[in-house]
Symmetry: C2
Subunit: 413 residues, 2 copies
């Protein structure tokens, strides 16, 4: 076991052990944000035949060498029709967007470029290039063509494509089962009687929400008390899950308690400290079937550790290629002090001016102040080697849940 | 009814009619991403008493005027204890992070700054400022203090705070009930028998996924056929919901069909065209109880319309302050042609170099090509008045589902 690691090495270590954990077949309707574990081929040509890209008239381009030209309307074709006729010279068919182009025609003229003459006659005012405004059979998808490969994340567009090839069921990467355990005699559970001297268990719920935000419904194991028996029993229960998150029990004195218990239960510890703040005392261990993260008892530290180490691991297990929070370049609204030796994550709100995004710390950065995390749009990354950042300096932030939306509409007119 | 509107006016019109639609009380465990509809006050002081911020020794700072100093250890206090003793001069208490600071002491010395001397004696090597490493009672939250206001989005940090004040149930904005209807004789449903001449209904499913991505489980009403009776019956059914999304039936010829049917059903139409591409033929109407969006039959157009008009409306109804997709500044990897007169949304993938984000169109921008949407990280905004953008030009993109994560870790070490 390496006691203490830089954050990037801790991330590599965690990801090495967080492999995709099998596949399952699910209903297409439940598949959003899952990752495909199969190749998907088209079951048809799409469009199924040459179709009109516009509302207008299907014509023979050769009839429009001299315009305006008057053509006889011999059919009225809408989407879903199967036109059987063949259109002859000086004839045309009224046609709707998506409707099959009839035999004999080679071009569609938009309705805007025509003029009604009689019930069965239209005047075409423009000539046109052959093939204009026709979408060709198989232009989007050809029968048996691979349209989606394993590893594709199912976003709304992907889900639409799956519906298009009639994949009513899809094989996707399984989601890991996650258990959450808080530890400490000082903790009061959400449904425990009020005790003014206790500290309510916020960690289990903040962690639950972070896990939920990744699409996984975790199991809350409650609070382990500071006795070897209770801790052992709860940890053993937690090791039945693919991933166990234990919060609390990582400060110096308590180590002697959690670590030997985990080791007795067959957990191999990989590290017990990471060069990051908040979140320095974070540990990671594995058994053959399970991964354990020991997160700090402090809610902000625990949440920051989750974002840096647990979330990438869970996303890797679910088969995502994108494991990390998106980063944005920002300017600092105020100075941030820092001593080299660890990466620091400062909770910030984002605002915008003509020069781009501005990041302002959310008040007290004490790791006890969960409000600083609740208010944050992003985590400002203060690099390991930094000696402090000045107001106006460039830096990077990781965007947090909710920050993919903003208040203004990006100045659209 | 205004027939045709610029996008920002269409957005204003839609938002004016999309008011929050009531509140409900739900379990805290189900509250992630909901919007609080109540003020939340603290039920306690937090911390509940003065507690140690570190593992170490609780001391009287006055005893450390000359260091090193040896002190007698008279107690061993861990989190959750209720120490009853008073520490006297030249005495100290071993103390754990989060444990109550005992009477008589005023400062905590970290264990790293001490040295064991005997089982009941410790040598303190540093003097300290009074109050150092003690977190004061009520420092984070005071009893009855407002900690969260109505309108707060419940992110993981907020959910932790709600657990901290023991809000096991919370009052939140209700989610609108949403129905989705596709229309057209050419459409084949997901579970219909294969017909090579039909076009599979992708829209219902892509829209379903877009609605799901906002946290709402919509109802799929299936496919309305191109007969007045079927359309009328299905539209009537859809108007029982808070929001009805109809895809298809917005091209010129079919208007005469959908629009009078909606109007017969008491729908007041507000616009029928928006100066945007794709998505130009999009309509919006309301009844006293319901809102109807008529989206283009084309899946890409329908999805783009959803992002620009429907998503902000649904988020407004759910009480969010952040209604719009976050925009990022990018440089264009290649030229994009444009004629003034409408806002255009180009599907792009994002990459990054030393100068920031680079946007590359995802191949064919034909609105028939759903793959271009499935592959897109973002929608590039080509402004109304633009005469085209050159490679290297600055522009803005709206990030799409999934893009809040990326493949690299932002160069963290």
């Amino acid at each position: 076991m390496k006691n203490s690691l830089p954050l990037n090495e801790a991330q590599s270590c965690v990801l090495q052990h967080a492999m995709p954990s099998g596949t399952e077949q699910i209903d297409l309707l439940q598949s959003l944000e899952r990752v495909l574990a199969q190749e998907v081929r088209s079951n048809r040509d799409h469009p199924p035949c040459d179709i009109s890209a516009m509302d207008g008239y299907a014509v023979r381009a050769a009839d429009l060498n001299i315009v305006p030209a008057q053509l006889l309307i011999v059919a009225d074709i809408k989407a879903g029709d199967l036109p059987m006729l063949t259109v002859q010279a000086r004839q045309c068919a009224r046609i709707m967007t998506g409707a099959p182009v009839p035999q004999g025609t080679d071009t569609v003229i938009r309705v805007e470029d025509t003029q009604a003459v009689a019930a069965d006659k239209v005047q075409i005012n423009v000539s046109a290039q052959t093939g204009k405004d026709i979408r060709r059979r198989g232009e989007n998808l050809r029968t048996d063509e691979v349209v989606l490969t394993a590893g594709t994340e199912i976003n709304p567009g992907t889900l639409g494509i799956l519906a298009m090839v009639k994949a009513a069921e899809v094989t996707v990467q399984r989601r890991p089962r996650v258990a959450i355990l808080s530890s400490g005699d000082e903790l009061e559970g959400l449904h425990d009687a009020f005790d003014a001297n206790k500290i309510p268990d916020a960690n289990s719920y903040a962690l639950m929400a972070q896990v939920q935000a990744l699409g996984i419904q975790p199991t809350l194991l409650g609070i382990a008390r500071d006795t070897p028996d209770d801790l052992r029993e709860k940890l053993q229960q937690g090791l039945q899950y693919d991933v166990l998150l234990v919060s609390g029990g990582t400060s110096v004195g308590v180590h002697d308690f959690v670590r030997p218990t985990l080791e007795q239960l067959g957990v191999q510890m990989h590290f017990w400290r990471v060069h990051m703040r908040p979140g320095h005392p974070v540990a990671f261990g594995t058994t053959a079937a399970s991964k354990v993260f020991c997160l700090p008892g402090n809610p902000v530290s625990s949440m920051v550790c989750f974002e840096q180490l647990v979330a990438p691991a869970l996303r890797n297990m679910m088969g995502y290629a994108r494991l990390f929070r998106r980063t944005l370049p920002v300017r600092l609204a105020q100075a941030v002090a820092h001593r080299p030796g660890h990466v620091e994550f400062v909770r910030v709100v984002l605002s915008r001016d003509a020069d781009g995004y501005l990041a302002t710390p959310t008040g007290s950065q004490s790791s006890g102040v969960l409000l600083s995390m609740a208010r944050a749009d992003a985590l400002l990354i203060v690099p390991n080697e930094s000696k402090g950042l000045a107001a106006g300096d460039q830096a990077m932030v990781q965007i947090l849940n909710g920050t993919e939306f903003e208040q203004d509409n990006g100045s659209i007119v």
